[in-house]
């Protein structure tokens, strides 16, 4: 017997702190989601208050749920399981608390800045540059703490959950840094360094893998730890978990192009993305089955134990979402589903089912242990389960119906060959009842969540918190482990840094195959000579468009389908976006595409429409933007904006910002005001609405003045 037993303590305080944070931010993020959902059938629910209008709170909802709720949930699980799997306290308590408070500070700053309109507009990466830097610093702190703990572990093996944690830490860092390259023009605003097609490729390489490595891999690690704990039996197949890990992290990165089907990406890359997406079904379902089969012979427990009930539904939702994801990546399916609510339903299967239910299961399991007591009410936890499940169904099913309805109506032609529903509004009015049902589903889900808060609070009150848990283990000798027939595995496990490096290689191989064309594409986008940089007034209007989050509902990307060209005009060309920092293609249509909006309506129509959309479009679900009519346009920062854009390659002439730009701006504003006057509207030229109208009237007009041969760079499908 080895007498060299060491006694040490697991840190439960940090686990409790993250658990409380996830509970608090969860209710905030979901409530904001509900407010956004209500605005989709009752636009006045914003109380005509710009800070809580859909375009601004939609990113607040996604960021709060992803980074605050799931982020803190991930840290809760990692800080609990990592210590126990390594048989060691965290590497540094100071780093643990820096991680905690830094992360909460980032969340608070997001909650303040997003409603204020400080956004980069890039989905799930909306936070502006100072917060981006803070995220990078805090993430490095977390990674150092993670790797440090693994290095000082007393357990010779690195359990598979730890592999998933390592992959998460590294990949998120790479994704975040590459996608956040931006040039600041004020203390809280910046322009993306990439433009147009390139910006879109980088963003969706990030967006896809953020889902993979923030919402999936860390939670798979948690599944591999907490499901065996809750079921009191080891994982069904450890072999399968090894394959699950390597296949998943290796394949996932390659599948990114499926977000950009029918765009400027070359055909082979689109096909590669599609094929690898389909291949992802194998490891994903391997993982799901591994989780479910862990419960073989223990299904009687599932009937009684709410912890296992939540986990079973979570793993099942993971399986459903990972079957549906590849299905949506098939080009023909994507042609129908893209821009519709189908995508929203898909992500909520993952969000509410996989991340939500796994977090709930983990918290119900964790709190009695942290507080050394029994769960206050098993009955209440069961109520939470059923109400939550019902809520999820009420959320997802109507939104699937809405998504498919939208997709089919957009593509429907009548027997004469014209669009059956030429007015986009018709297609949205049709699905408004589904939006109402969705809000009911979301409310039920939140109701269940409130029951959990009460239950966990009562559990905590009834028990006594154990801040340090004493444990014993024998330290292992690395050198003695380097023998045997499975040398490679032992060798790798004994070298976490080598393991980490190999994981990076695995994710980078797929990443590079995508990134290299991404960097080459810039020189290969055919230029269209009539495409010019935005005028100063249009630029300011565009920045307001970004501030208001218009792209949450309006895409600017006409795909090469007849149903789209009939409705919106000529399909979008890569060369049209060369000065778009950032790109504003959007991913969803709650309103029509705006890529060819310029010149479709008079200025006065836009004025009235923005003031009260229902005055020009009865039944519209667009919020009022009446504050644009009164707020003064900020022209003082114009030189800084032009300089920043020049740095990233927009060819504004030298010295343009020192005088000529202001004159140009005034002349164009006066022109808009004169146009409005012909529509019996008296407006001041220094109001924000003038800039927004100028921008909207510019959209898609450049190529109209170009010779046809210049724009026909490739054939439409």
């Amino acid at each position: 017997m080895n007498t060299n037993v060491e006694t040490f303590k697991y840190d439960n305080r940090i686990v409790r702190a993250f658990a409380i944070a996830t509970i608090v931010w969860g209710i905030v993020g979901m409530s904001v989601g509900l407010l956004a959902a209500v605005q989709l059938f009752f636009p006045d629910a914003n109380l005509n208050f710009q800070f809580i209008t859909f375009g601004r709170i939609r990113p607040l909802h996604t960021n709060a749920v992803i980074f605050a709720f799931v982020g803190n949930g991930m840290f809760t699980g990692i800080y609990y399981s990592l210590q126990r799997l390594c048989k060691a306290r965290m590497f540094s308590d100071a780093l643990s608390w820096l991680n905690f408070w830094g992360w909460q500070a980032i969340i608070v700053s997001a909650a303040i800045t997003l409603p204020l309109g400080f956004t980069t507009s890039k989905e799930y990466a909306e936070l502006e540059w100072p917060i981006d830097i803070a995220i990078a610093i805090i993430w490095v702190i977390f990674t150092v703490n993670l790797i440090g703990t693994i290095l000082k572990r007393r357990e010779k093996h690195m359990y598979v959950a730890i592999w998933f944690y390592i992959a998460t830490a590294l990949t998120v860092a790479v994704l975040h840094i590459v996608n956040s390259m931006e040039i600041p023009w004020s203390w809280m605003k910046s322009y993306s360094m990439y433009a147009g097609v390139q910006d879109a490729l980088v963003q969706w390489w990030y967006g896809h893998n953020a889902v993979a490595f923030f919402l999936t891999t860390p939670y798979l690690g948690l599944m591999y730890y907490f499901l065996p704990k809750a079921a009191d039996r080891p994982i069904f197949s450890y072999r399968l978990s090894i394959i699950h890990f390597w296949a998943l992290i290796f394949i996932y990165i390659w599948a990114g192009p499926h977000h950009l089907l029918y765009t400027a990406l070359p055909d082979w890359a689109q096909s590669l993305g599609m094929v690898f997406s389909l291949m992802l079904i194998a490891p994903s379902w391997g993982g799901m089955l591994n989780g479910l089969l862990t419960l073989r012979g223990a299904w009687d427990k599932v009937r009684q134990d709410p912890v296992l009930k939540f986990m079973v539904v979570a793993v099942t939702a993971y399986g459903m979402a990972t079957l549906e994801g590849p299905t949506l990546a098939i080009k023909n399916v994507n042609a129908l589903s893209h821009y519709t609510d189908w995508t929203i339903a898909h992500v909520h299967t993952g969000g509410l089912g996989w991340n939500g239910f796994l977090t709930f299961g983990m918290l119900y399991w964790l709190f009695p242990r942290l507080y050394q007591t029994k769960l206050w009410s098993t009955k209440m936890a069961n109520y939470h389960f059923w109400i939550g499940l019902l809520g999820m169904m009420f959320y997802i099913i109507p939104i699937y119906v809405a998504g498919v309805t939208e997709g089919l109506m957009w593509k429907q032609f009548n027997k004469d060959g014209f669009l059956q529903y030429p007015n986009f509004l018709e297609t949205i009015v049709q699905v408004v009842p589904m939006f109402r049902l969705r809000a009911i589903g979301g409310s039920l889900y939140i109701l269940g969540y409130v029951l959990m808060i009460v239950n966990l609070y009562k559990t905590a009150k009834a028990g006594q918190f154990q801040k340090d848990v004493e444990a014993q283990a024998v330290p292992f000798n690395k050198k003695s482990e380097e023998s045997g027939s499975h040398l490679w595995h032992r060798w790798l496990e004994a070298r976490p840094l080598t393991f980490t490096a190999l994981s990076v290689v695995a994710i980078l191989v797929g990443g590079l195959v995508e990134i290299i064309p991404m960097y080459l594409v810039k020189e290969n986008v055919p230029t269209i000579s009539s495409v010019k940089p935005y005028t100063p007034l249009e630029l300011l209007g565009r920045d307001i468009y970004i501030r208001e989050g218009c792209l949450a509902c309006h895409s600017q990307m006409i795909r090469p389908f007849r149903s789209e060209t009939e409705r919106y005009g000529e399909y979008s060309k890569a060369g049209e976006f060369v000065y778009d920092h950032p790109f504003l293609w959007g991913s969803e249509r709650k309103g029509p595409d705006l890529a060819r909006e310029g010149g479709k309506y008079p200025d006065a129509w836009h004025y009235n429409h923005l003031d009260d959309p229902r005055s020009t479009s009865p039944g519209s679900i667009m919020p009022r933007y009446s504050w644009l009519l009164t707020q003064k346009l900020d022209t003082t920062s114009l030189p800084a904006r032009i300089k920043a854009l020049r740095k990233v390659g927009v060819p504004y002439p030298a010295g343009f910002e020192n005088g000529p730009a202001q004159k140009d701006l005034q002349a164009q504003a006066d022109k808009v005001v004169a146009n409005l006057k012909t529509g019996s509207i008296n407006a001041d030229s220094d109001r924000e609405i003038v800039a927004v109208i100028a921008y909207l009237q510019r959209l898609g007009t450049d190529i109209k003045s170009a010779p046809a041969t210049q724009t026909q760079t490739t054939n439409a499908k």
């Binding site: 093996h157 079921a231 400027a264 055909d267 096909s271 590669l272 427990k301 444990a471 290969n524 890569a574």
Partner: protein, 68 residues
């Protein structure tokens, strides 16, 4: 939308071929690795979440099941 804008890059098709080759090499290596592991070791590794070394006196009992 324009597609095939990368077709002019010399040998761009090679990326696809290289991608598939790398993928299969990794896939075969992972399978080989997995099959080379000993059952006894796999069992001991899969037991890790259930043996966290904490001193039993501190372990709570669940109301429903004894998870640990």
């Amino acid at each position: 939308m324009v597609e095939n804008v990368l077709q002019d890059i010399e040998g761009v098709g090679l990326y696809g071929v290289i991608s598939i080759c790398i993928f299969f090499a990794v896939f075969i290596a992972a399978i080989t690795w997995m099959m080379s592991l000993k059952k006894a070791d796999l069992n001991s590794m899969s037991q890790l979440p259930l043996q966290d070394g904490s001193i039993p006196a501190n372990r709570p009992q669940s109301k429903i099941t004894n998870h640990e």
